[in-house]
Each structure stands twice: as structure tokens, then as C-alpha cells.
């Protein structure tokens, strides 16, 4: 049954690419390398021609949905349109062909991009210092929490062993705390879906290193007490870290630094649309206060007169990337921000407008656990008797990528809808129409969905039980 893998489309001896001829004598490997180091059996890779390769992967792409093909309201992921100018920027040979270890005088243009990108992210967040090194949001979190850890080590404070995490947090937050060597404790919510300030007050003590907050949180609700929360942490000598996955609701409307946050990460692939690429590459750039700036990873871009250079911050946690992080990704974010300028605020406004519009239109049919104003995304629950999973699969048959489901964990049967600013009213109206229709469908019909996708529902348990993860 494996006839659809690339390797099974090949035949021994076929080639998909021609290399230049040898213009020097071909080395005799047996002479120059120890015999036991030589490969005995060739790897069983595909042996195919170029037309077969192109057709195979083009057809695979057609079994995949993207923003280009479908409305993709995947909550917490900011699946907005990806301007193609970004791709053009990263393909310019003067950047694409640049080796990361070329001496600084040879890479002034690249360092200027890095410096300016730092500067733009600094203005947007309100923080004086930025690092572009982390290569995804989760690595931005880890970088941030490692910086907090190093701050306390540097201060000789050995008591700070705990990181607090709200129950709405992304799973990456507690996982990050563990990786950085902290224990984590979960904080509950108040009736509005926000961090329970009284519970926080009772939990914060001299062992608290930081609270990892997401704002707006994963219920799509702005943390109304953010300044008070920051005060509680600061009074205890702890830091407030912000997961910036939801920065698309903040840009131009609120700056995390002014809300009392000490350090945050961005997801440049979300907020600044660099794009997502099927699950990366991303960039989890961080921004922080002066107190934490000396601990940023190595290197950061600085400017000295007209010369740009890379430096290791004084008390750096060290390297988190082999070279300079995902340069191609922050180059795209830099380009995206420049194409918007102060109009970034309109993106925020339209993203929040779209989410609230969907909320208003679904209200009454779907349950809305936190039915105040939402920000750029809204969490809903299906009508009683229906499952989020079934509604999600039903959406597929109508041509919509489902929202994030079963997250946040605090809402049963959660469906987290993030329309983004690049969708038209017509698209939202059609989507809402489909959602209302699905609410009326019989549960039995919904359980059959999808029927029009490349596959029907999968036996996920079998994949784990009879593991086969390679040809």
C-alpha cells in the first residue's frame, strides 16, 4: 500500500539532478579514508527523475490546506495572509548567499537588518532591549526563563525555584519552566477568564521567580488586572513574563512594557506573517527590560557610528542558535513591519473587530463562556449534545480549516476561533452561516464528517500502537 511514497515511484539508476563534471582527479576514498569508516550499503533513498519529483510533491501539496487555499481560523496561531514580498526579500541573492561566518565588514547589510528589526520590535513592545536569536516561540520562552534564572543566579538569590503558570497557558509554558530547571505551579481563573488575582497574591512569595502570562489570554480575554499582577510580582522581587503568541491583539494598542511586563517573546511567524511553513521555521524574538538585557543570548546587533556589529551581552546566557537565529524569518518580519508602518494598528483593530463580529454572530447558538469583549480570538462551545471535534470535522466538508479545538483546557469542548485581520466580511459571514448550519446538523451526520477531504477520520491510536514512522 506504500505506492504513494516518493521512493516507491523510483527505479534503481534514475536520477533527478545533474551535477557538474569532475574537473580535478576523482579521489580514491579507499586510499584517503580508513576502511572501517566507509559506508558499505547505500542509503535506500528515492531514485527518481525531476518530473516525478515535481509531480509527487505538487500532488502532495494539493492534499494540504493553507491560508492561500482556505479560511484558516486556527486560534492562537494567527493564520493571516502572507504577503509574497516577504518571500521575495529572503530570496535576494545578497542575503540568500551570505555565509553566517563572513567577517562583519562583509555583512553590513544583514547586520543593519538585524539592528533595525531589533529597533522596530523594541518600539512595538516598549522594551529597550531585543534579541532575535530564538528560532520559535517555545525557544523564546525558554530563552526568557533562562534569562530570569541567570538574573537570580547573578544576584546570588538561590531561593527562586518556582514559576507560576495560569491554567489557560499554552503547554509550552510549563514545559519551558521544567526545561529551565524550575518547578511550576498552576493558578486558577476568576469568573471573567482572567488570572485570579487573590489566588496569585496567596501564591507569590520569595521562591517565585516569574509568572508566565499570555495577554490577551488563550480565552481571547484581555488580562484586565495586568498592572496589578505586575505589581504583586515586582513587590516580591519576581518577574512578569509575557507569552506573545497573541501579540496580534496588542500591536499599536498596548505596549507590554507599559503594562508592567518585564520580558516577552514574539512569534514573528504569527504577528508579522513570515509565514508558518507547515510548522516552522519561526522566530521567537524576545524583548525585555534594562534589568534583564545583559542576560540576552549571544549575539545581538549593535551600531557604532555607521558600522554595525555583533556583540555578546555582558552576562549572556550563551548561545541558543548555531549562528544568528532564523535570519531569513526576521528579515521577512522587518520587511512586513516596514510595509505597514504605523498602520500595524489597523491590523490589530481589524483582527479584534473580526473576532468580535464572529462572537456576536454565533452568540445564542454556540455557548460563549466569557462573553465580554474578546480580543483577536474567541473561545466558544458547541450547542449541548455536540462535540467540538465533530463540528470541526464538519467545517472541513464546507471548506473551512477548523479552529483550534480542546484548547484552552479550562473550557470543555473549546473551539478557539482566530479569524485574523486579512479576512473579508463575506468570508466571515459564510463561515458563520456554516457554523450555524452545523449547529443544526444531527450528531450522527457530523460524526461521519469529513467525507470530502483527502482522507476520512484517522485511526490515531493505531499510529502509536503499531508505530511505523519511516519507509
Amino acid at each position: 500500500m506504500l505506492d504513494n511514497l516518493i521512493r516507491d515511484k523510483g527505479r534503481e539508476g534514475r536520477r533527478g539532478y545533474t551535477l557538474p563534471q569532475f574537473d580535478v582527479e576523482q579521489a580514491n576514498l579507499e586510499k584517503i579514508l580508513p576502511k572501517e569508516s566507509l559506508r558499505k550499503e547505500k542509503p535506500r533513498l528515492a531514485e527518481v527523475d525531476e518530473p516525478t519529483v515535481i509531480r509527487h510533491y505538487t500532488n502532495l501539496s494539493r492534499k494540504n490546506w493553507g491560508i492561500d487555499t482556505n479560511f484558516y481560523p486556527l486560534g492562537s496561531c494567527t493564520m493571516k495572509h502572507n504577503p509574497r514580498a516577504n518571500e521575495a526579500a529572503a530570496a535576494v541573492p545578497g542575503f540568500a548567499g551570505l555565509h553566517p561566518l563572513q567577517p562583519e565588514p562583509q555583512v553590513q547589510g544583514a547586520l543593519q537588518v538585524a539592528y533595525e528589526a531589533q529597533d522596530l520590535l523594541s518600539e512595538i513592545s516598549g522594551f529597550p532591549a531585543v534579541s532575535l536569536q530564538p528560532m520559535a516561540g517555545a525557544q523564546g520562552e525558554l530563552t526568557s526563563i533562562l534569562m530570569v534564572k541567570k538574573f537570580f543566579e547573578d544576584a546570588g538569590d538561590e531561593e527562586r525555584t518556582t514559576v507560576l503558570v495560569p491554567s489557560t497557558a499554552h503547554g509550552t509554558n510549563p514545559a519551558t519552566a521544567t526545561m529551565a530547571g524550575f518547578g511550576s505551579k498552576e493558578i486558577g481563573l476568576d469568573e471573567d477568564g482572567c488570572v485570579d488575582v487573590e489566588e496569585l497574591r496567596s501564591m507569590v512569595d520569595e521562591t517565585t521567580a516569574a509568572l508566565m502570562i499570555t495577554n490577551p489570554n488563550t480565552c481571547g480575554v484581555y488580562e484586565k488586572n495586568i498592572e496589578e499582577i505586575a505589581g504583586i510580582l515586582h513587590d516580591a522581587g519576581a518577574f512578569l513574563y509575557m507569552d506573545g503568541a497573541n501579540m496580534n491583539a496588542n500591536v499599536g494598542r498596548v505596549r507590554p512594557a507599559e503594562a508592567g511586563v518585564d520580558i516577552m517573546h514574539y512569534n514573528l511567524h504569527k504577528t508579522f506573517s513570515t509565514p508558518h511553513g507547515g510548522g516552522g521555521p519561526g522566530c521567537g524574538a524576545i524583548a525585555c527590560s534594562d534589568a534583564l538585557a545583559p542576560f540576552r543570548p549571544d549575539p545581538v546587533a549593535e551600531k557604532d557610528g555607521d558600522h554595525y556589529h555583533l556583540v555578546r551581552p555582558e552576562k549572556s546566557i550563551g548561545r541558543v542558535a548555531g549562528f544568528h537565529g532564523n535570519f531569513g524569518v526576521f528579515l521577512k518580519a522587518w520587511n512586513y513591519i516596514k510595509m505597514h508602518g504605523p498602520e500595524l494598528k489597523e491590523n490589530t483593530d481589524m483582527a479584534v473587530l473580526n473576532a468580535n463580529y464572529v462572537r456576536a454572530r454565533l452568540r445564542g447558538t454556540y455557548r460563549i463562556p466569557y462573553d465580554g469583549l474578546c480580543k483577536h480570538e474567541v473561545v466558544i462551545q458547541p450547542p449541548k449534545g455536540k462535540k467540538a471535534l465533530d463540528v470541526a470535522k464538519g467545517l472541513i466538508d464546507h471548506g473551512y480549516h477548523p479552529p483550534t479545538i480542546y484548547f484552552p483546557l479550562v473550557v470543555k469542548e473549546a473551539m478557539l476561533i482566530e479569524p485574523t485581520e486579512t479576512e473579508s466580511k463575506e468570508t466571515l459571514d459564510d463561515f458563520v452561516g456554516t457554523m450555524l448550519e452545523l449547529a443544526e446538523s444531527s450528531p450522527e451526520d457530523l460524526q461521519e464528517a469529513p467525507t470530502s477531504a483527502p482522507t476520512r477520520r484517522l485511526d490515531e491510536a493505531r499510529a502509536a500502537r503499531q508505530l511505523k514512522a519511516r519507509w
Binding site: I32, V48, I54, L60, N64, M79, M135, M339, P342, R462
Partner: protein, 429 residues
């Protein structure tokens, strides 16, 4: 309105009405502290103006010349077909395949990527990629600690890329450095308490190491053996899985990714089946749909952060799907023979250059050590040599800072370039 947001004033008015608020500002009534005024950002640019800036800054870089730098990133040929596939919007603009019914494209390409890595490394299972070679090495160090239930402390060969070494330390793993003789690591004295022993082959100085010796040394103290390998080298060198390595990791950039000033690249990680629960990141597995049709899905999810939270084996979520796709398409185009040819062209040219340099009177740092396409050559003044190379339209090798230049030669370099390199370096004195 701006070009990426479709709403007209009428749309906005109607939508505000449906929501039951008066203005856009009302949508932010719950936000505090509100930003006063507007962001101080440069004025909005048209696409044309923005891309003009890109070209203007790109022109400030020195690019398009023959490159002799390596040290973890290599100037290799990328077939045009790779970019034709990775620019397909269905791949480019999708996200992690949480909904498998409409993500079979990404899922199957991950399955194929895992297969390519498993084949090259001779190990049973690979993940869907991690951020880059450095983070793959760091994640592998943490893996060894979880698997052996020891404190994270690893013995690394002196030839492990120093950037990887630094990243391991950032990830809170203690390092013990093993000494080396003539460029090859001495694995005879591995401390008993380490969780892993790391060997990079070819190592940072280009030297092909004895992976079997590292594996034996690791196993003698109950640690895991981790091999760090350039995937192209595995077309000619024995697969680490056949030399006793428990884990193989490395930088997949040579498989069809542009240099792009250091990223995005992709890290790969492969291991034996017994260690699979400790492997971080996404894994795609085969299954069937309810009609019995073959399909692919993310599996062994109970290792991951969104399920296991604080007890996950890593916090990794987003990986490098698009660059891993580039590697998959590259490997398909090249096939085993093409990969071997890339390796042999590079090896032949590197040895030609090394021989010529030696004939001209220069000495290799490790003249007895076997190497592939990268070697350290002693020069009286590396800085001056690199300046002379640049003046003659070439980007020289890496200044190791101790009187040697680390030179990498790929299949892209021509005999004329190699001859010119020798001549310029010789004349630079």
C-alpha cells in the same frame, strides 16, 4: 484601507453595529494601559519601496563570490526544483498538521523526511526536525540524561563545533571536554557519571573521527553515544547507527537550504527504537482512515508539551517543517548516487586544494588525519590571506585564531577557483 485588510468603512460600520459598540476604540475598552498616541514607526512603504530597501541593504553585503567558509554551514548547489516545491502556498501557508484529513501533504513529507534521515543515519526513527544543528545537539544532550536517568552531563569530543558546545551549556547541561591527538578525539578516558558521549564526524576541523570508539567508550560507562554528522557525509561514511551510536543529530542545511546568513536551517535527530519516548518534537506515523485508506498522522503525542505540559520531554512546538521539506525534495532529486557524487566532488576538490597547498609549502594542521571536504591549513598570516582572497574576488576560510585557516570546499568550487586560491594565498605570504 491597507492592501492586506479588505474592510471598507461600510463593512466596519455594519460589523460594529452587529457587535453592539460604537467605535473601534470601544473594542479596546477593557485594555489598560492604553498606548497614548501612535507607534513611532517609519512611514508605511509600498511593496516596491520596501523591496528597494531590501536590495539596497543586500548590496551592502559581499555575496556572489566563491566561498571557502564552512564550519557548520556549506555553500552547496540547490536544485531549482527545491524552491519550486517549498514556495507552493499549500505548504508555505499551512501550519502544524493538527487536522490530518486536510494536512496529508505536510504529514507525508514529514514521513519522507524521517525516512531519509533514518536511512542516512542507519537508525530506526527520526523526528520531524528541530530548529537547527545546535539545538539538535542540545536536545540530544537532554535526551541522554532522561534515558540514563543521570544528571545532564556529557563528554564531548574536542572537535565538536564550539557553537554546539555553547548551546549545550545554555541548555543547562554540564560539559566534559575530551582531549585529542592530531585532530582525533581520545575516547579512552570518559568519566563514569556522564549521560552521553558526543562525537562529531567529520569534526569541526574536518577530521573523520572513530565513531565506534566513541560508542564503545559511551557504552562502557552506561552512557548513550551521540554522533553529530553532516548528512552529505553519510553518503560515503558508514552510518552512525552501524557504528554503535544510539543517537545521531546534526545540521540539515547542506540538504538544499540557502546559507541565508545562518538560518532558517533545520536540525535532524534520529535514534533507536528503545529511546523513542525520549525523542523530542513531532513524529509522523502511518495509519489508516475509517475506510481503511493509508494516511499519516502526528503520533506518540504523549511526549509533547501540549499534552504532557510540565512533564513533557521538551517544550518544542514549532519546528522547521518548510526547510525539512526542502531537505526531503533535495534528497529525492539527488538520490543515493547524486548524494554520493556531491560528496565525492567535494572530497576530490578539497583534496586537490590541500595537496596543492602542501606542494606550495604550506602545512596542514593535522597532516595525518583523514578528512573529507574541510581541513585546517597553517598560514603565516590568516588575516592577510583572507584580505588578499577578498581583493581577488574570493571569500576565504575561517580564521581559527591560532595561525590556521579552516577551509571548506564544496562541489560548487571549480579547479580555476582552487588554483586561484593557492596562488593568492601563496603570494600573500
Amino acid at each position: 484601507m491597507a492592501r492586506f485588510t479588505p474592510h471598507t468603512d461600510d463593512d466596519i460600520r455594519e460589523m460594529l453595529e452587529a457587535i453592539g459598540v460604537e467605535s473601534l476604540d470601544d473594542l479596546f475598552a477593557d485594555v489598560s494601559p492604553k498606548l497614548e498616541g501612535t507607534l513611532d514607526l517609519p512611514p508605511t512603504l509600498s511593496e516596491y519601496e520596501a523591496l528597494s530597501d531590501v536590495h539596497r541593504l543586500a548590496a551592502k553585503n559581499v555575496a556572489g563570490l566563491p566561498i571557502f567558509l564552512g564550519a557548520g554551514a556549506y555553500d552547496r548547489i540547490t536544485p531549482t526544483a527545491v524552491g519550486a516545491i517549498t514556495s507552493r502556498g499549500e505548504f508555505l501557508t499551512s501550519y502544524t498538521p493538527y487536522q490530518p484529513e486536510i494536512s496529508q501533504g505536510v504529514l507525508q513529507t514529514i514521513f519522507e523526511f524521517q525516512s531519509v534521515i533514518a536511512e542516512l543515519t542507519g537508525l530506526e526513527i527520526s523526528n520531524a526536525s528541530v530548529y537547527d544543528g545546535a539545538s539538535a545537539v542540545a536536545e540530544a544532550a537532554l535526551m541522554t540524561a532522561r534515558q540514563t536517568k543521570r544528571d545532564p552531563k556529557v563528554a564531548v569530543s574536542a572537535g565538536l563545533n564550539p557553537r554546539y558546545r555553547e548551546t549545550i551549556e545554555t541548555y543547562k547541561v554540564e560539559l566534559v571536554e575530551l582531549s585529542h591527538n592530531n585532530g582525533a578525539t581520545d575516547f579512552s578516558e570518559v568519566p563514569e557519571e556522564v549521560s552521553g558521549v558526543f562525537v562529531q564526524s567529520p569534526n569541526y576541523f574536518g577530521v573523520v573521527e572513530d565513531v565506534s570508539a566513541a560508542s564503545e567508550a559511551a557504552h562502557a560507562v552506561g552512557a548513550l553515544a551521540v554522533a553529530v554528522c553532516d548528512p552529505i557525509s553519510l553518503a560515503v561514511l558508514e552510518a552512525p547507527g552501524n557504528l554503535g551510536a544510539d543517537v545521531a543529530v546534526g545540521e540539515a542545511q547542506p540538504l538544499g537550504m540557502p546559507l541565508l546568513f545562518g538560518g532558517p536551517y533545520a536540525g535532524y535527530m534520529a535514534t533507536r527504537e528503545e529511546v523513542i519516548r525520549q525523542l523530542p518534537g513531532r513524529i509522523t506515523g502511518e495509519t489508516v482512515d475509517q475506510d481503511g485508506k493509508l494516511a499519516y498522522v502526528l503520533t506518540l503525542r504523549a511526549r509533547e508539551q501540549d499534552i504532557r505540559r510540565a512533564r513533557a520531554n521538551s517544550n518544542i512546538c514549532t519546528n522547521q517543517a518548510l526547510t525539512a521539506l526542502a531537505a526531503t525534495v533535495y534528497a529525492s532529486l539527488m538520490g543515493p548516487e547524486g548524494l554520493r557524487e556531491v560528496a565525492e566532488l567535494s572530497i576530490s576538490k578539497a583534496h586537490y586544494l590541500a595537496d596543492k597547498l602542501q606542494e606550495t609549502g604550506f602545512e596542514l594542521r593535522y597532516p595525518e588525519a583523514p578528512f573529507l571536504w574541510e581541513f585546517a591549513v597553517e598560514l603565516p598570516d590568516v588575516g592577510r590571506a583572507n584580505e588578499a582572497l577578498l581583493e581577488n574576488g574570493m571569500i576565504g576560510g575561517l580564521d581559527l585564531g591560532d595561525g590556521a585557516m579552516l577551509v571548506a570546499v564544496t562541489e560548487k568550487r571549480t579547479k580555476e577557483e582552487l588554483d586561484a586560491f593557492v596562488e593568492v594565498v601563496a603570494n600573500a605570504g
